[in-house]
């Protein structure tokens, strides 16, 4: 690991990847704070990790099959009621595909 500065440009790029709209003031603050945090976590480079296998999960587990039985599910009405904007059983979002005609 090498000492890496977190610039506002990096913050904007990461915010874009994470789908977060942030204003200039936040971008400046996050750059400073994340820079200090990244500086701290770089101490991991002090450890001798050669040949160590990554550990993604704390317990050894294996896949298992469950009985193939239909369970309960949530109704369309329940799910529609949770959506911030819906119409006739569908969740409404801005136009996703540009079909080139106003009517879509």
């Amino acid at each position: 690991m090498s000492g890496e500065e977190i610039t506002q440009e990096t913050v904007r790029k990461v915010a874009r990847l994470a789908r977060l709209a942030i204003d200039d003031e936040r971008a400046a603050r996050y750059a400073e704070q994340l820079g200090r945090i990244v500086g701290y976590v770089e101490r991991l480079s002090e450890l001798d990790l050669d040949g160590v296998e990554p550990l993604t999960h704390p317990i050894a587990s294996s896949n298992r099959l469950e009985a193939d039985e239909a369970g309960g599910t949530l109704s369309r009405e329940t799910l529609e009621a949770m959506a911030p904007d819906s119409v006739d059983g569908f969740v409404r979002v801005p136009k996703v595909l540009d079909t080139g005609s106003a009517g879509g």
């Binding site: 200090r36 976590v41 101490r43 704390p58 317990i59 469950e66 904007d85």
Partner: protein, 494 residues
């Protein structure tokens, strides 16, 4: 006896004997929650209907002469990242401000089947991200021992509510210390179970390989009871362990003999508050007095564990929190395109700490950095786990004893502008979380802080960490300590 200072077992007994009705006790608890809310801000929703309906069901069983379940009529508090259909499930977030879950979490079903009366959903650091209770969209929770101080976090409201005598038992969640650290700052017993012991189904995920639900209580006895109720295999959680659930109450009084306690060299090497250092030394003497052999163990990576934790947890969070897109549920921001809608929903709906952690995790996983950060952190995670295994296997320790937090409750507002200093609060709690091990924080002593009118006694917690599935052993060790000390009996004056 005041039912709100009674243990869960005593409350059940009062109801079974007809001394008090479940409804009467539920009303006392609801009233206390409501009266303390302006002072502590510990609750997101107080669930009158849910609580009174359940209490009346219990009373009907009493009148019908039925045998009562283990938590019959016992008021409990539930952290607001655990789904309950009654009331909202906000996770302390603006994003979920009006979200109502269509189902109840497995642990909630288990509580209800055991007769527990759910009194309130409790305030928390947003999505579990915080160590002070100050990162909630609904304002900070205050510590009942000194309302100018934090209760710890992220299970802030459950800790404050149980400590203030609203209920004898509450549920929290521990990703890197979010049960144990607030238990320490509020003078409670707090259990982080072995990973896989308690079902996570119905828990809003923060970091899936680390999150565990566990109980808060005022004594090891109530903690053992609550843990017995919520543990057990659940086919709906693929990480749920397929093991028998012991009754942690059965052997609680038996103690552990001969007892070997491991004390890490690193437990002394940090900038511990003097009261924490004193509590640790005193506890070592107490255990020696009980016949325990004390061995030194080496957790050399204690400092590195915190770095590994904040990379692993934030990487997982950046992925888990992708579901909050403003489309299917929760808050929606305005946008002309779908991307704009996502960005504004998340930009407006998430608080700053959540945004910081999503960004840290996204950065740690992004092209060009994933090896440097995420993969390195996972390797360090294995090193941490192996250090604990050596302490148990090579050194023969039944439990590792160390501070839960480096200091007692700090003043509100003192760390909110400095995320890194807040993260370092978790230095002693993240290791067992990375290793998936059980750990129990208990009341180890008191600190005296402030002067004159501001002089306060603050609880100081210690934790015991055990091998996988060693909760029973840990609770017996804590019970041994309680039997010869008085700290756990002292309650805040509020």
């Amino acid at each position: 006896m005041d039912p709100l200072s009674a243990s869960a077992t005593q409350i059940r007994q009062m109801i079974a004997s007809g001394e008090r009705s479940a409804e009467e006790i539920a009303r006392l608890s609801l009233d206390r929650a409501r009266a303390l809310q302006p002072v502590l801000n510990a609750f997101v929703d107080i669930l009158d209907d849910e609580a009174l309906e359940q209490a009346r069901r219990i009373d009907a069983r009493v009148h019908g002469g039925e045998t009562l379940a283990r938590l019959a009529g016992v008021p409990v508090l539930v952290k607001d990242n655990i789904c309950v259909e009654a009331g909202r499930t906000t996770c302390g977030s603006r994003f979920l401000e009006s979200y109502r879950s269509p189902f109840a979490a497995s642990v909630v079903e288990r509580l209800r089947s055991a007769g527990a009366v759910i009194i309130a959903k409790t305030n928390m650091d947003e999505f579990g991200m915080g160590s002070s209770g100050e990162h909630s969209a609904f304002g900070p929770t205050c510590n009942p021992w000194d309302t100018g101080r934090v209760p710890g976090g992220s299970s802030s409201g459950t800790a404050a509510g149980v400590a203030a005598g609203v209920a004898p038992i509450g549920l929290g969640t521990d990703t890197g210390g979010s049960i144990r650290q607030p238990a320490s700052l509020c003078g409670l017993v707090g259990v982080r179970p072995t990973y896989g012991r308690v079902s996570r189904w119905g828990l809003v995920a923060f970091a899936s390989s680390l999150d565990q639900i566990g109980p808060f209580a005022r004594t090891s006895e109530d903690a053992a009871l609550a843990l017995s109720v919520i543990s057990g295999h659940d086919p709906r959680d693929s990480t749920s362990a397929q093991i028998e659930t012991p009754n942690f109450m059965t052997d609680l009084e038996r103690g552990v003999e001969p007892l070997v306690i491991g004390v890490p060299r690193q437990a002394h090497s940090h900038s511990n508050h003097s009261s924490v250092a004193l509590a640790l030394d005193t506890a070592v003497e107490v255990f020696e007095g009980l016949g325990a052999r004390i061995v030194e163990v080496d957790l050399a990576s204690t400092d590195h564990a915190i770095a590994a934790y904040y990379l692993v947890a934030t990487a997982e969070a950046s992925s888990n929190l992708a579901r909050f897109d403003g489309v299917r549920f929760g808050r929606r921001g305005e946008g002309a395109t779908l991307d704009e809608l996502y960005e504004r929903s998340r930009g407006e709906g998430f608080g700053e700490e959540v945004q910081r952690r999503i960004m840290l995790g996204t950065h740690a996983l992004s092209a060009g950095y994933a090896d440097q950060y995420y993969a390195t952190a996972l390797k360090a995670r294995r090193v941490v786990k192996e250090e604990y295994e050596r302490a148990f296997v090579d050194r023969g320790a039944h439990a590792i004893l160390m501070p839960t937090a480096p200091e007692p409750a700090f003043e509100l507002g003192t760390k909110t502008d400095d995320p890194l200093s807040m993260y370092l609060e978790d230095v002693y709690t993240v290791g067992p979380a990375l290793a998936g091990l059980p750990a129990v924080s208990f009341q180890g002593g008191f600190a005296s802080v402030g002067e004159g009118d501001r002089e306060r006694a603050l609880p100081v917690g210690l934790q015991v960490i055990g091998p996988a599935l060693g909760e029973g052993q840990l609770l017996r060790v804590v019970r041994m300590f309680e039997r010869v000390t008085e700290h756990h009996a002292r309650r805040p004056e509020i």
